[in-house]
Amino acid sequence: MPTIHLAIHFALLLLLPPLLLGVITKTKAAFAGRVGAPFLQPYHDLVKLMKKGTVLSRTTTWVFRAGPAVGLATVLCAAFLVPFGNHAAPLSFEGDLVLFAYLFGLGRFFTVAAALDTGSPFEGMGAAREATFSCLAEPALFLGLLVLVRSSGSLSLGGMMGSGLGAEWATAGASLVAVVCSLFIVLLVENCRIPFDDPTTHLELTMIHEVMVLDHSGPALGMILYSASLKLFVLGAVLVRIAMPLGEERPFLGWALFVAGMLGLAVLIGVVESTMARLRLLQVPMLLVGAVLLSAFGIVLLAR
C-alpha cells in the first residue's frame, strides 16, 4: 500500500468522523425546519471538552477513568483492519474479522465496567441495556460477514470487500442486499441511534449509551464523543464498502466516492432519525433478532 494512501486513510479516519455527526444533526434540523448547528460544531465541542477540567465521582476507581481510553483505543485498532476507499486495509490477515468484532467487545467491556464503577443505578441500567443489545447485534454482524466469506472465499475483511465484490453483486445480489440491511441495523444499534436509542433525549430512564457516560466529564467525555463518532465511521465504512463495490483502478476517485458514500450514509441516518420514533425497549430485541434472521436469510439464499 503506497504511503500516500496510507496517509489518506489515517487522515480520513482521524478527521472525518465528527463531521458525520454534524451532517446527521444538520439533516435532522433540516427535517425539523431549523437551520441547526453548523457542520463543524462537533469539532468545536471536542476541542472545548479537551480543554476542560475533570470531576470524578468518589466511588470510582481507575476502571472508570480507563473506560473511555480503552474505548477509543480499541476503535482505533479496529480501524486498521477496515479497507477505506477502494484500497486495501493497512492490516489484513485471515480471521481479522474476528479481531474486528472482538475489539469492539473489548471496548464495550471497559465502557460498561466504567459505567458500573460509578455505583449509579441509572448508569447500571444503561450498561445492562448496552451489553444486552450488543449480544444480539454480534451474531447479526458475524452472519452478515459470513455471507461475504462464503461468496468471496476469503477469510479477511480486505479480501471479502476486495475487487471481487462487484462480481458477487451480480451473482449473489439478493444475499448482499440482505446483508447490507442487516448491517445497517447493526450500525444503528452499535452507535445508539434511533430507533434504538435517542442520543438527544433528556430522560435518563429511556437512555442507553448516554446514560452510561453521565459521570464522565472534560477530556474523558471528549474521548467518548470522539470514539463514538469513530465507531460510526468504521462501521459505516464497512457498510459503504459493501454497498459500493469499487474497482481498484483510479485510486483517488475511489477516495472521493468513499467520502461521498460516508456522507450519504450520515444523511441516511439523519433521515431515519427524523422519520422514525424510538422503539420501546422491549421491542428492541425483536428488531435485532430480525437483523439476525435477515443475515441468516442471506446465507440461505447463498445455499440455493
Binding site: 476507581t61 483505543a73 473489548l106 465496567a113 455505583g119 451489553a131 444486552t132 449480544c135 454480534e138 451474531p139
Partner: protein, 658 residues
Amino acid sequence: MSVALVLAGLVLCGLSGLPGLFVHRERGSGERVFAALMIAGAAAGVVGALRALALPAESVLHRAWPVRAGAFDLRIDPIAVMFLLQVLVIGALGAVYGLGYWRQVDHPRNGRKLRLFYGLLVCAMGLLVIARNGVLFLFGWEVMALAAFVLVTTEDHERTVRGVGYVYLVATHTGTLCLFAFFGLLHATAGTVDFAAPDLEAGALPLTGPAATALFLLALVGCGLKAGLMPLHIWLPGAHASAPSHVSALMSGVLIKMGIYGLVRACTLFSEPPLWWGGLVLGLGVVSGVLGVAFAIAQHDLKRLLAYHSVENIGIILMGLGVALLGRSLGNDALVVLGLSGALLHVWNHGLFKALLFLSAGAVVHATHTREIDRLGGLWRAMPLTGAAFLVGAVAICGLPPLNGFASEILVYLGLLRATTHHGDATWIFAALSVASLALVGALALACFVKVFGATFLGVPRDASVPAAREAPLSMLVPMGVLALLCVAIGVGSPVLAPLLGAAARTFAPGLATSASALAPLGWVTAASLAVLALVGASVMLVLWRTRGAQAAGTWDCGYAGGSARIQYTSSSFAQLLVGLFAWALRPGGHAPALRGPFAPRTHFASHVPEVVLDVVVLPACRLAARSFERLRFLQQGRVQFYLLHVVLTLLVLMLWR
C-alpha cells in the same frame, strides 16, 4: 527416563498429603510440606514432560502389570503433554493457594483429608493422560473421580454439599460405566483395550460400522459426563460451587478437561469418522456454549456462575473438536489442524483463566464469607490485586484480545470459517450457524463477566452485613499472579505453541500435510495483541495522566437524592433482560410483589433460576422411578409363605423354560 521423571513427579504429588496425616491436626507444618512436595512433584513432572517432547524416543515406558488385560503402558505424546502440563501447573498453584485459603488452623476437621485427596487427584489425572492401556486409564479415571468426590464433600456437614456430592458421584459413576462398556466393546471389536499400542500409529484400528458408532457414542457420553457438556452437565454447577475454591479451580480448570482428553483419545482410534460425528460434536458444542453462558448469566452465586461458564467453554472446545472431526471426514487437513489446535489451546487457556477466576473468586469468598454477588460490591478498594486478577481472568474468558482466550477462540473461528468456505455439501451452513452461535456466546460471556466484575468489585458495597474485606494473603495472591501472567503470556506469545499444537494435531490424525501454514494467523494474533496492548496502555496512561488531581464529587444521582447503596443496579437486575430473552430455556421463577395503592406495605422480591436439566428433568424422573420401585416392595412384605411361593413359582417357570 522422561517417563520415569514424570512418574516420579506424579507419585510425589500423590503422596504429598501423607506426611500431614502424622502431624497434629492443629499444627500447620503438614501443609507446608504438602505444598513443597506438590511444587517439587510438579516441577519434576513438567521437566519430564518437556524432555519427552524434545526426545520422543524416551517417551515410552512399558512394564507388565499382572491384571487381566492390563499393562503398565505409558506414553507421553504431544496430546498428553498438553494436558499433563496443565494438571501439574494448576495443581501446584492450587496447592500453594490452599496454604492461605484453607489453613489447617482454620479447618482442623478436614484440612488433612483435603490435602491428601488433592494430591491424589493431581496424581490420578496425570496418570490417566499418560496411560495408554485402557485398564490403567480407567484406573486413573476413577481414582480421579473418587478423590474429587471427597474434595467436593469437604464440608459434608452442610446439607447442600451432601446433595451436590451425591449428584456428582452418580454422574461420574454413570460416565465410568459408559467407559466400562466402551473398553469392553473395544476389546470385543478390536481385540485390545489400548489407546493405540506403542508400536501402532493412531487411527490404525480398522473400526467402522455400528460397532464404531456405538464406541463413539459411549465415549461421547462417558467423557461428556465428565466434561460437563450440556445436557450432561447436571453435576457440574453444584459441585464446583460447593468445593473449596482451589479445588473448584482444579476441577473446573483441569478435571473436566479429562473428559475432553478421553474424547480426543477415543477419536484417535478411528481412521474414518463419518461426517455426522463431527456434526454431532459441533452441535453439542453449540448447545453447551449458548445454554451454558445463558445459565451463567442468570446465577446469583459467584462460583456457580463460574461453573456454568465451564459448560460454555467446554462447548467452545467441543466446537473445535467437531471441526477437527469434520476435517477428518472431509479430508481437509486445515480443518483438522485449526479445529484441534483451537480445542487444545482452549483447553489450556480455559484451564488458566478459569483457575484464575476461581482463585480470585475464592479470595472474595474468603474475605467476605458470601458467594452472593448481589450482596457484594466495591471490593476493588479493599482488594485491588484480587480485583486485577479477576479482571484479567474476565477479559481472558470473554475471548477478548490481547489475552489468551482470543488466541484459541480465533483458531476455532478460523476452523469454522474455513468450513464455511468448504464446497461440496451442506456442511458449510452448519458451520456458518456455528460461527454465529460462537459470536453469540462471546457477546453473552462478555455481558456476564462485565456484570460480575462490575457488581463485585466496582460501585459501593451493597450489604452492610458483609464483613469488611481485606486483601488476600501473599500465598493466595502469588498463584493468581502467576496465572494472570500466563494468560497474558499466551495471549501475546501463542506462536511459540504452534509447533506443539501442530504435533498434537499430527498425533490426532497422522499424515497431516499442512500444519504450519494453517496456524500462521497466530503470528498476527501476537501482532494484534501487542498493538492493542500498546495502544490501550498508551491511551489509558494518557487519560490517567490527564485526569490526575481531578476534582472529586458524588456520583450524579439524576436528581433522585437520598438513594442508598442498595439502589445500585445489582447483578440480577443487570441480567434481567437477558434472562428474559432466554426464559424458554432457563425457566426463571421467583417471587415478585404486587404493589397496590400509594403506600405499598413492606415486601420482598426474589428471583431464582433452577438447574433446568437436573431439577426439571432428571430429579423428577428419578423420583418417578423410585416411586414405581417402591410399589414393588409388596414382593418383600414379610410373610414367609409368600417367599416360599416365590421359590415354587421360580421352579415352575424354569421347568417350563425349555
